[in-house]
Symmetry: D3
Subunit: 207 residues, 6 copies
C-alpha cells in the first residue's frame, strides 16, 4: 500500500556479501530493525561499503592512523553531529535523513522536541549559541560552499571550535549532502519505526 | 608565493599509512605528479580511504559483488562520467574539481575544448543530445534533488539510459558534491599541471 | 529554561476581553491545553479577533451569508486543509505552524507519519496524486503567486478541483503565509504537547 | 474589452449582506468609486469581513481592548504604513496592491512621486533613513521571515522604532502578503481611478 | 532637497562637446526638458556617444548598411520595444528606466495604465498573447540568458516573430540591462516630468 | 561538424561596410584570426559599430573629450579589466566571453592559470585583496545592481579605488552583461584559438 523503500531493486539479506550482511545484522540487533538505507544501498555493495566507511570515519571517529594528527580535544558531541545532519537534510528536503537522523538526534540528546526544531528552523531550536553557529556554517556549506572563507573560520573559532572541528562539520555536511541526493533520487523511504523513536520517555531501541 | 594547497596541514608522504602511500605513489607514477586532493585529504586517512573506495566504485566500476546485479549493458563512458563531474563542479564553483577533472575529461575525450565548454555552460558544448540530457539531470540532482521524480527518469530513458545508468549519474553527482564542498572549505588548490593537460596535441601524461 | 512563547508580552487569560477569554477556554477544554498562538496574538485583541474570524471562515467553512454562492460540492477535506498548512509552513520555515498543524493533520488523517512527510518534501508523502497537485499549487502560491495563471487552474481542474476549491487552497495558503510571518517574527514557540499528538495509537486529545 | 476585475464571480451590491453593503457604500461615498477588492472578496462574505477587520486593526489602529497594552507612543504614520504595503506588494508583484495603495500613499504623503519610487526600488526613494530601515525589514519579513532575529530588532530600535512599531511593520507586511497572494490568484484588476490619484495637484478623491 | 540626479559629477551643457550638446538640445526641444540620463552619462562623453549609437540602432532602426540583411517585415512596434524596456527594468529594479520608459510607453501606446501594469507584473497587463510571449522571453534573457535555447525561438516563432524580431527583443533587453546597471550604480534620478507624462488625456510632450 | 558560430546569418567580410571590414582586418592582423564576435555582430552593422565604440571607450580609455573630467590617476590595469569580464561572464555563464576574454586575461597578466581561477571562483584565485574586492563588486553589479549603495563605494575606496575606477568596474560589468546576453541568445561560438592562448610560455599572438 505504501511506497516501496526504493525505486531500485532491494536485495534480500541472504543474497548480500557476507561482510555487508554481518554489518546489517549487527545494526538490526541493536536497533530492532534494519534501517532502509542499508538495504537500498546494498543494491551496490561496493558503494555501500565505501558509504559505511565514510560514515564511520566521520561519525564514529576512530583513530585515523595518521601519526601527527592534531587531537581536537573536545570536538563535537554525538548529538551535535546529528544536529548537523538533521539541519542540512532539512535544507536539502531529504525525508529519509530528516526522519532517521531526527530519531537518532532525539535519542542522543534525550530531547524529544529537538529534531523537529532543527529540521524546520534551527534558529528557533533549543540549542546553544555555539550550536547555532555550527548549524549556520553547516547550512552555508550546504548552499554556498564556494563562498566559505576566512571569516567563517573566525566566527567558529570564536565559539571554541578548532579547525579540526570545522573539518568535521564540513565533512558531515558534505557526506550527508551526498546521502540526501541519493535518497532523493531513489525515493528512499524511512522506516516507520524512526518517526516515533525518542519521542516518548522510555525508548526501547537505541537509548 | 601561491596559496598553499589546503588550509589544513598536509602530511608528508613518508608519514602516511602504507596503503595510502602506495596508492599515491601509483598515481604519481602514472600521472607524473601527485594530485593535491590525495595529499590534502590524507590529513584524515580514514576519510581518504573511504573517499577513494567511493570514487573507485563509481568511476572504475568493478564487479560489485552482488549476485543479481543488473548489468547495465553499455552504461556511461569514462568521458561521460568526467563530463558529469565537470558540469556539476562548475555549478558548485569548485576550482579544484573543474580544473583537475577538466584535464581528465580532455584526455579521455581527446577533445581539447570540451572541458571549458561543459564547465561554463553545457548547453553550448560540443556534446550529443543524450549527453545534454545526462548533464541536465546531473545539474538538477546538484541543485534540487528533492524535485527529482518519475518525469526525470522517463526523460533519461528516452535517451537510452538504463536505471542503473541513472544511478551512476546521480551517484557521481552526489559524490562530487561532497568533494566540491570539502575542496571549497579547505581551499584545495589544483596542481598547476592540470591546467594545460589535454589541451595540446601530444599529452605525455594520462593519454 | 526554554525560550518564552513569544518575544512580545503574553497577557494573562484573566486580563483578556471576555469574548477572547471564552474562545480560549473552549479550545482549552477540547484540546487539553491552550495553543500558544492564542495567547501570543492576544497581545493585540483586535488582530486576534480578525485572525480567528479569517481562520474560521477558511477552515470551518460555515455559510458565508452570500445568497448565490456556488456550493463547492465536495471540496477539500479537513485533512487536506491541514496538509496545505503543513506544506506551506514548511516552505516558510515556520516552526510553530509545522508542529501545531502537523499534530492536527495526524489526528485528522489518522496517519502518524504524514505530517513529517508533508513538511519535509510532499513529493515523497503517502498522499494521492490529487493531493500532490493541490500541494504543488499551494507551494507556487507561497513562492511565486505572481506567476499563477490559467495553466495552474487547468491542472487543478483536471484533478477534480472546482474553482471554489482552488480559492480555498489559495486562501488557506495566503492566510497561513500571514501566520508564518507573524510566528517567525515573534518567535512563537509551539506547545510541547503538539510534538507527540497523533503519533501514538490512542491520542487522548483531539481525536 | 479589458480583463474582468476577478477570475471569480463578482456579486452585485444589492445581493450582499447588509453589513458589507453598508461598508462598501461608505467607501464609495468617500472615494468616489468602489475599490475592486471589496467586490471581488465579497464573493466570500465571511472572508471579506475577517479581511476588513484585520485591515482595520492594523491600519486604523483603534483601541485593542487589551488593558495593559503598551501604547506605542508615536508609532508609524499613515503614510509609512502605506509605504510598507507598496514596497512589499512590489516584491510580491501584486498589481492591485501596488496601484491601489500607491494611490493612497501619494495622497497621504502628498508626494506624487513616492509610490513609483517605493514600488520599484525603495533604496532610491525620497524617504528618510528611518523609513529605509523600516522597508528593509518589511522586505525581509516578506522574503525570509524565518531569518528574522534579534539583530533585526536592534537595527530598528536604533532608528527609534518601539517593539510595538515592529509588530505593526510585520503585521502590515504579513497581512498584505495574504492580500497579494489572493489578488494574484484571482487576477484582481485595479480600478482605473487609482492610477492617476494623487499624481496631480488637486486630487478630488481622498485628499 | 531631493537627491541629486547622479552620484557622479554632472557636466554643464556648455562644457560638453558640440555633438553631444546638439543632441541634448534637440531632445530638450522635443520633450520640453533634458532627460537626466543624458546629463549623467555625459560625464563620460565617449561612453555616452556609444550609448546613444546603440540606443538608436535598436530603437530607431535605421538601415544598417549591411547589404543582405533580412528585412524583418513587420517587426516590433515602438510601443512593444518600450514594453520590453519597462518589463526588464522592473525586473532589474531600475527606477530611472521604469519611470522614464514607462512615460514613453504610455505616450506611444496611448494607454495611461499600461506602464504600471508591465512594470509590476506583465502577466496581468492589458497586452496581447503575442506581447506576453515577447515579455516572457525578455525576462528570461534578463535572468537566465544561459538557458535560452531552441525551444524559446520556437515559442516566439509560433507567435509570428521572425528571428530578426527575436534579435531585437534580446538586443533591447541586453542594452537596457546595461542601462539598468549603470543607472542603479550611479543612483540616476528620473526627471519629475516623467512620472505624469502620458497619464492624462492631453499630453503636450512627446505625442 | 561543430556548431556554427552563431544562430544568425554570418556575413562575408567582403559584404561588410568598409569601416567594419577595416576594423576586422586590423584585428585579424594583430591576433592572427578574426574573433567570432566581430563576424556574428556584423549581421547588424549599426549595432556592431556602437558595440565597438562602447568597448573601446571602456577598455581602451582614450580621452573622453570632456574638459573637466577627473583624471582617475592610476585606475584599473588592462589585466584587471579582463578579470572583471571573465568573472562576470562566468556568473552569466557566457561561454564566448569566458573563453575569449580568459585568453586575453592570461596574455595581459602573463599568468596561465588566472583565467580558469577567476571564471570558476574568484575567491580562490591568485589575485590581490584589492582585486578580490573589485570582483566582489562586479559580481554584485551583475546579480543585484539595485542593491548597490554607499557601503559598496566605501568598501572599494578603502582599497584605493577612486569613484572613476568604480564607474569603470560598473561600466565594464554592465557592458559585458549586454555582451553575455547577446552571445548566449545567438549561441556565439568561441574561436578554437582562444582556448589555448596564453597557456603556454611562448604565445605568438597578442603578447
Amino acid at each position: 500500500m505504501n511506497a516501496p523503500i526504493s525505486r531500485y531493486p532491494v536485495p534480500d539479506l541472504k543474497d548480500l556479501p557476507a561482510d555487508i550482511r554481518e554489518r546489517i545484522v549487527a545494526v538490526q540487533e541493536k536497533a530492532g530493525f534494519v534501517p532502509n538505507v542499508f538495504l537500498a544501498l546494498a543494491h551496490r555493495p561496493a558503494e555501500l561499503r565505501a558509504f559505511l566507511a565514510y560514515h564511520d570515519a566521520l561519525l564514529l571517529k576512530e583513530d585515523s592512523g595518521l601519526k601527527d594528527q592534531a587531537a581536537s580535544g573536545h570536538g563535537l558531541t554525538k548529538g551535535e553531529r546529528e544536529m548537523i545532519i538533521v539541519a542540512t537534510s532539512g535544507a536539502n528536503q531529504c525525508l529519509y535523513c530528516v526522519v532517521a537522523h531526527g530519531a537518532i538526534l532525539r535519542v542522543y540528546e534525550k530531547k524529544p522536541l529537538i529534531a523537529d526544531q532543527v529540521a524546520v528552523n534551527h534558529r528557533k531550536a533549543d540549542i546553544t549559541p555555539r550550536q547555532r553557529a555550527m548549524l549556520d556554517f553547516a547550512l552555508k556549506v550546504t548552499r554556498a560552499s564556494h563562498e566559505v572563507g576566512d571569516a567563517d573560520f573566525e566566527a567558529l573559532r570564536a565559539h571554541g571550535f578548532s579547525d579540526e572541528d570545522i573539518w568535521d562539520i564540513a565533512g558531515i555536511t558534505a557526506f550527508f549532502g551526498l546521502s540526501n541526493r541519493m535518497a532523493n533520487v531513489m525515493s528512499l523511504r524511512p522506516n516507520d519505526e524512526f518517526y516515533l523513536m525518542g519521542r516518548v520517555p522510555r525508548e526501547k531501541g537505541k537509548a
